[in-house]
């Protein structure tokens, strides 16, 4: 009991003594654990899909079909296996304008009385009336409308009567997600784009071809007369929607597949099933996870690197303390335990902080597109999850401190007491090469050569940071592409909520990455400058100018940073591919620019500490250090 | 020059005065110059009178010179001397009392006396050190010179201590 108390007191005092380093350690580990917590939370949400809640609340259909004539629709509604139906509802194509923004919509004509299948649930306002339209919730967000605003559709003005959610389509912008296309003999496939043979005029390229994909179509409901009023000889009514409830909901796939397979031609119906829609909903969340997990991985790496640098700096001072403890009778066990205890205490504390932060931040991400009700909120973290996160923190702390702790506790006592720090390494070849270089390069290269482990850590830091930035840039480019490239429409300019949300998350991750990387870089520079004090003072005593010394210190960092930035580019691309499986890459020049940006930032961060390091009083430094 | 030294030098083999002189020069290096020829011969005759050495005739190659060799008593005395551990006395008491006397009588400033003595010792040290630097590495004389230098340094340390002590004493009034 006494030993444990002693260890605890020693560790606590040491933490107070080096508060700044303790804080940095906590920040590093907390950032990593917060990201991981958010990732875990998201994965927990998949199984609690809001889609199902919405389906229950809106009497969601098992199968939705779009056909080219009302008669066809009615025939389908009376097919065997159908228990209930609503429709056929005319679906007109229109362009909506509001506040300088425009988009394409399917305007579905509805009765003012509630339907038996798929009655969208109002989240604001009231249901359709003559001159009053109801807009799907995510689309309304993107468009920026609220109840009471006036919108223009195909030149006519309407009031926004209400805002609603439905389980019959995927929320904007993935309206056509979940529709059945091109089946193979083996299985049906769901598209994430509106089918080419969907007979909607604005999908036409004008030369007889249709665009294969359109994600930027919104859903709007209005009275049937109003909907028909939108059509014209140029924009004829060609589509009817019917919502089916089957006697056996699980049969929905088979039902749709059967009819799809036997249809053909330009008038074949388009189906979507509730399973397809549910799967699409799930993808939304997995997508998000796909963004977070690489982020958490990168952060964990950075956290380990930070902790390693922090710990490495303290090693010689630690070695003396070890020698002292052992000289007064402490066993190697106690000694290692003190060192580990301190770092583990901080890591666990950081894990708890990260858990709390991640749990509180999770709702920002688990509101999948606002279209489905029952946003997940803050789901409870299971005990296992908590253990996972704390486990990560412990792994990070151990990875950085275990080896030095064991080595120090095993070494000879007198050697530890006399320890003057790890002697610098000698690399004969590098020394020879450096003598051919100008003085700053000579100094910088030799500085890196004498502390290879720290140089490696610095390079790793830069590699991870560059990878993170590359991933974010690639994702931004991908998002921009989705927005601008997919539809050849003028105007538009609506934000894509899914991509937005992904971008938000990625930005959050990147901000954390960059903060951590900056702190890490500053710290490594500080450690380098401190370690180089004697060498710098000596060089100056021999006649080097302080500008040569400060340039040398900056060069030392840049020499490590360069390979890191180079490796970071492919690493970032790899992570991007993991997050966005089929995305295309942005131009290489952008990625290279990112790497160069990191290098420049590194230099900027190093300049001030380097200047300070080069201006120390020569005599003071030399007298205080031993030969 | 201690008599026993000359006696011991003869223990290797009987020698004439001039051979002895040469061997002493070898061992003493530059310091050998300061040893007077006369001193050697005087010592030799004293030792002869005391019965420790005896003339050995002229069988030696340097005919015409007196060659001396050890007697039995002489050998005994050498053996005795070799095992004695008396060490040459440092004569600090004299200087110490000089300072005390000067201070008590008010004749001179003890610190001034110490300074003057320091200067003299430093000069001597310089001379000896110069001689030592001129000797080849590992010479016997070099070893002797090192000993002299270290002694002088020790004395100088003591003089510094004297100076500090007398300055403190003066401060306390």
């Amino acid at each position: 009991m006494g030993t444990a108390l002693l260890i605890f007191r020693l560790a606590a005092r040491d933490v107070r003594h080096h508060a700044a380093q303790a804080i940095l350690l906590v920040v590093a580990v907390a950032a990593a654990t917060a990201t991981l917590t958010m990732g875990i939370t998201l994965s927990g949400v998949t199984s609690r899909s809001p889609y199902l809640t919405t389906r229950a609340a809106t009497r969601g259909p098992d199968v939705v079909a779009y056909l080219t004539s009302a008669a066809q629709a009615t025939t389908l509604a009376h097919a065997s296996g159908v228990a209930n139906y609503s429709g056929p509802f005319p679906v007109a194509a229109a362009t909506i304008h509001f506040d300088g923004r425009q988009a394409d919509v399917f305007a579905e004509g509805r009765s003012q009385k509630p339907a038996g299948v798929d009655q969208p649930l109002l989240t604001a306002g009231s249901w359709v009336r003559p001159g009053g339209v109801v807009i799907e919730r995510t689309f309304a967000d993107a468009l920026g409308v609220s109840v009471g605003d006036r919108v223009a559709m195909n030149g006519r003005s309407y009031a926004v009567a209400g805002i609603a959610v439905t389980a019959a389509q995927s929320p904007y912008p993935n309206l056509c997600n979940g529709t059945l296309v091109a089946p193979t003999a083996a299985a049906s496939k769901f598209s994430n784009a509106c089918p080419a043979f969907f007979n909607i005029p604005f999908l036409s390229l004008g030369n007889g071809q249709y665009l294969a994909s359109s994600d930027e179509v919104g859903q709007v409901w209005m009275t049937e007369p109003d909907a028909i009023g939108l059509t014209s000889p140029a924009n004829r009514l060609t589509t009817y929607a019917v919502n089916l409830k089957l006697t056996n909901p699980d049969n929905a796939q088979a039902f749709a597949y059967d009819r799809f397979v036997h249809a053909s031609g330009a008038t074949s119906p388009v189906f979507s099933t509730w399973q397809g829609l549910a799967a699409e909903d799930g993808k939304l969340i997995q997508d998000g996870q796909g963004v977070l997990q690489p982020g958490a991985f990168l952060l964990a790496l950075l956290a380990i690197a930070s902790v390693a640098v922090l710990v490495g700096r303290r090693l010689s001072e630690y070695a003396r303390r070890v020698g002292l403890l052992k000289a007064v009778g402490g066993t190697p066990g106690i000694v290692a335990a003190t060192f580990l205890a301190e770092n583990l205490m901080l890591a666990v504390f950081a894990a708890v902080v990260g858990l709390a932060a991640g749990w509180l931040a999770a709702p920002l991400i688990t509101k999948p597109g606002a279209a489905l009700i029952g946003a997940a909120g803050a789901p409870p973290l299971s005990f296992i999850n908590v253990l996972q996160v704390i486990g990560l923190a412990i792994v990070v702390a151990l990875a950085a401190t275990l080896v030095p702790a064991i080595r120090a506790s095993r070494g000879s006592t007198i050697a530890a007491l006399n320890d003057v720090g790890r002697p610098p390494k000698r690399r004969g070849a590098l020394v020879r090469i450096s003598s051919r270089l100008p003085i700053p390069a000579l100094f910088g290269l030799r500085l890196d050569a004498r502390r290879p482990r720290r140089s490696l850590l610095s390079a790793a830091n830069v590699a991870v940071t560059t990878a993170g930035i590359v991933t974010v840039i690639a994702f931004h480019a991908f998002a921009d592409n989705k927005l601008a490239g997919a539809i050849a429409l003028t105007g538009g300019g609506l934000s894509n909520p899914v991509v937005n949300r992904d971008e938000q998350m990625l930005t959050v991750v990147m901000v954390m990455l960059v903060t951590l990387a900056v702190l890490n870089a500053l710290f490594t520079t500080w450690a380098t400058v401190l370690d180089a004090r004697r060498a710098a003072a000596l060089m100056q005593a021999l006649g080097a100018r302080s500008r040569q010394i400060s340039s040398g210190l900056v060069l030392a960092q840049e020499l490590c940073a360069l390979p890191g930035a180079i490796i970071g580019i492919p690493l970032g691309v790899l992570l991007y591919k993991v997050a966005v499986k089929h995305g295309s890459l942005p131009p290489v020049t952008w990625l290279v620019a990112a790497a160069i940006g990191v290098l420049v930032a590194m230099a900027a961060l190093t300049i001030v500490p380097a200047r300070i390091g080069a201006r120390q009083p020569i005599v003071e430094v030399l007298s205080s250090e031993t030969a | 020059m201690q008599q026993e030294v000359v006696l011991a030098m003869l223990a290797k083999e009987p020698s004439s005065g001039s051979r002895l002189r040469a061997r002493l020069n070898d061992a003493l290096g530059p310091l050998g110059e300061d040893v007077n020829d006369g001193q050697i011969y005087v010592t030799l005759s004293r030792l002869e009178k005391a019965g420790f050495i005896a003339r050995q005739g002229t069988e030696s190659p340097d005919a015409g010179r007196k060659v001396y060799g050890l007697t039995a008593a002489g050998q005994e005395r050498v053996a005795e001397w070799l095992s004695e551990v008396a060490w040459p006395k440092p004569d600090l008491a004299e200087f110490h009392l000089k300072l005390v006397a000067a201070a008590q009588a008010g004749l001179a400033d003890p610190i001034g006396i110490v300074d003057a003595q320091r200067r003299e010792l430093i000069r001597r040290l310089w001379d000896v050190e110069r001689a030592a630097m001129a000797e080849p590495n590992g010479s016997q004389a070099g070893l002797l010179l090192e000993g002299i230098v270290l002694r002088l340094q020790a004395d100088l340390r003591w003089l510094e201590a004297c100076e500090r002590a007398w300055i403190d004493r003066r401060k306390q009034g």
Partner: protein, 249 residues
């Protein structure tokens, strides 16, 4: 105080002062010191530890700035020089030998000696040649490739001396050059200094060891930041030697 007929003093200081702290904590390490050193002269500054002699040497070598006073080296005033000018100075005109050697642990003896030459702008090949020559001069040509950890104290100090000579300085300043050495190693260094002195280098050595002063021809005693005494070394008097050895009478 002492100007050679051959010209102005190569080192000249007036009213030199170095202070630390302030108010009641003010310490004057060097307190109003005047000094002239002629070219080719070897000066030893002696005093107990803490008397300010090391500080004085740092000021003369441009490693530290005085709180007051003026210093001229080789006719140029250095107390007002910019950092850059001082660096230039330290590179070419002054060679400094530290008590703690201050060699770079990860460089061989030769690489240590090359360093000032490289700083001085010589090509790597020339620097290497100069280093070899100097190591030869100090008697360490067979240890050129050794790390300092593999050298004895005396050998390390000789490397440090060789390094101080790398750029052919006019003045060599040495701070306790034999402070960490045993008797035999001290003799090695003394011989070296003597040889350099006869070659015409100007020497200022700070020490509390009288032996090193034997290589000088002038000795100044320092206490509490001021000069208190001065001696010139006259020719040797061998009569004294025998007395010291107990060979008298």
């Amino acid at each position: 105080m002492n100007e050679n007929s051959s010209g102005a003093p190569i080192v000249r200081a007036r009213g030199l002062r170095k202070e630390y702290g302030s108010g009641s904590g003010l310490v004057r390490a060097v307190d109003d010191v005047d000094l002239d050193v002629a070219q080719g002269e070897a000066l030893a500054i002696m005093g107990p530890s803490g008397c300010g002699k090391s500080t004085l040497l740092h000021l003369l070598g441009g490693l530290d700035r005085p709180s007051a006073g003026e210093i001229w080296l080789e006719g140029r005033q250095i107390d007002k020089l910019s950092e850059r000018g001082l660096a230039q100075f330290r590179r070419h005109d002054v060679g400094f030998v530290f008590q703690a050697f201050h060699l770079m642990d990860e460089l061989t003896a030769q690489e240590n000696v090359e360093l000032p030459a490289l700083l001085g702008g010589r090509s790597p090949r020339e620097a290497r040649r100069r280093a070899r020559q100097l190591l030869d001069q100090v008697g360490l040509s067979d240890r050129a490739g050794y790390l300092p950890s593999a050298l004895s104290g005396g050998q390390r100090q000789r490397v440090a001396i060789a390094r101080a000579l790398a750029n052919d300085p006019q003045i060599v300043l040495a701070d306790e050059p034999t402070g960490n050495l045993d008797s035999a190693a001290t003799l090695e260094v003394l011989r070296l200094f003597d040889g350099l002195r006869t070659a015409g280098l100007t020497f200022i050595v700070v020490t509390h060891d009288e032996r090193i002063a034997a290589t000088a021809n002038r000795m100044i005693s320092m206490r509490d930041g001021v000069f208190v005494d001065e001696m010139r070394l006259t020719g040797g008097s061998k009569r004294n030697l025998a007395n010291c050895a107990g060979l008298g009478g």
